[in-house]
Amino acid sequence: MKALRKLVYPYIAWAAVMIVVPMLMILVYAFTKEGNSVRNFMFSLDSFKRFFSDPVFSEVLKRSLEIAVLTTIFCVLLGYPAAYAMVRSRFKIQWVLLTTIPTWINMLVRTYAWRGMLDNKGLINSFLGLIGLGPYKMLETTFAVVLGMVYNFIPFMILQIYNALEKIDKSYLEAAADLGANRVQVFLKVTLPLSVPGIISGITLVFLPAVSSFFIPKLLGGGKYVLIGNVIENQFLTAGDWSFGSAISLIMAAVIIVSMYITRRIDRKISPEGGLDK
């Protein structure tokens, strides 16, 4: 067993180079100014000052959080029933496969496809036109952005909840029923609490990419929905201001850590954490 432990070293080395070093670079850049060369390092809080002194950035951050929260809520509301139905279906594996197959195709391509569907002359409006409705303006609206995000991220939610539901021991449900609980009560008192960990990890998996996503708002929002991810992308790729870009990334990371901490707390409070065994 001890000999096998050595096998972990390559991973540690890999993690150090691929994960820790880039993070440190971001940290260093966030606290420097003047150019993108680390060699003339100069400690400075300018980037942070710039972020907080200009209301436009907080506004952008706020909007990103709003859209991410909205996306997450819809993912839970739609994902939970879907996962629930999947677990109870006879074709579990097929359903899981169907849920994951779209993620095999590049996200950008799938998002681009939505443009063609939401267009004024696109698939949906042509169809509505046949029955005498519309055309409705769907592309370049908040609706399109949230739709695109929910569409892209919902598999992560469904699979997490699915796994949690799948793990629930059937005998709990039978026991509850034996003790006189009706189906709604069984669901509310047993199934739902036991699946909270799945919901929580689903929320983390959806919220994180949603809050920093930049190409979905760009493609479906007509560029009008400037989110924090767009600003970071812009700082790195267009403005070439790596210090400011890193500072925003750090601020984002702080926001995410705080929100994860809060969800963890909620998780501990609600989910019984093996309470049924004790």
Binding site: N36, V56, E59, V60, R63, K92, I93, V96, L97, T100, I101, T103, W104, I105, N106, Y112, R115, G116, D119, N120, K121, K137, L139, E140, L159, E166, K218, L219, G222, G223, K224, V226, N230, V231, N234, Q235, F236, L237, T238, A239, G240, D241
Partner: protein, 368 residues
Amino acid sequence: MKKILSLVLAAAMTLGMCGCGENAGSPAQPADGGQSAVEKYGSDTLKLFNWGEYIGEETIPNFEKEYGVKVISDYFDSNEMMYTKLLAGESYDVIVPSDYMIERLISEDMLQPIDKSLIPNMENLCDSLKNREYDPDSTYSVPYFWGSVGLVFNKNNVDRAEIEKKGYEILRDEKYKGNIYIYDSERDAFMVAFKALGYSMNTENEDEINEAFDWLKSVNDTMEPAYVTDEVIDAMVNENKDIAVVYSGDAAYILNENENMDFIMPNEGTNIWSDAMVIPKNAENPKLAHEFMNYILTHDASYDNSITVGYSSSNKEVLDELSGEDGEFYGNAAYIPREGYEKDEIFHDNEVLKKKLSELWIKVKATN
């Protein structure tokens, strides 16, 4: 059973998450069986760093076949992204940046001078490309495509005389509210504003910059514009909106696809730009890079590139042929860039201005 399921899950997720970018050509043998590419150039691989969808379909396969080499293509979608990669130490043999970026690369000493004796086809160049402001003597760069920025409009809904008269101001005409596309890059958006106000697009004057900001802000607040980049091509072909700020090459393509569309370079002036091939200092195979540049300037390669992509060829003969009576772009208003119009300008490299505009551009779009 569960194990298999979780395996499937894990496999599905990893597969879904990794996207692969590199596009490697297949190695080929020299056609004439003579001297091998390795003997001739030192290596048989050329690393090309180009814009996406910016080359003819047969251009690279033909080059590989003819010279018995392999071309590895990598793509960028902005000059800045290209620059960032180059700074990170990536090595390429040929890169195709735009004018202002070449200016910057020259000033930062990141390019190799070109040996013109190896590129005899330079004489095929259009006259106005032989002497460019950013590289007057073509010391470092060989033009690839060139063009302008202008307005594509739907002839059925917008009168040509009206747009000719109003120029860029038509983007503030509330008749077209919710019906316009603005190009989503600070550089091009501010170019439109500066020109509409009669200023130089390279201005550093604070008041002029602020005026341009207000101009764009008023477009944003009153006109419900959509900010797009490449999506504009399909969107205009499908007649989604009536007016769009578009690069001339994309415009040429749109006009060819949909005959209701027309193009205009407003009288207020525009950006006449050019993209050119350069060899970075750290190129591994400069000899083959020269060969490639020379090849791109041949009639056939240049023709293939231009007809596929829609941008104006740097090869004079091809430009005339394609815009001539039997050419693919005959009567296409967007194909031939304007030459020698005094209000037209090229962009100059200006880091301070670029940073300022990029921040202002976020402000234009983010507050509504």
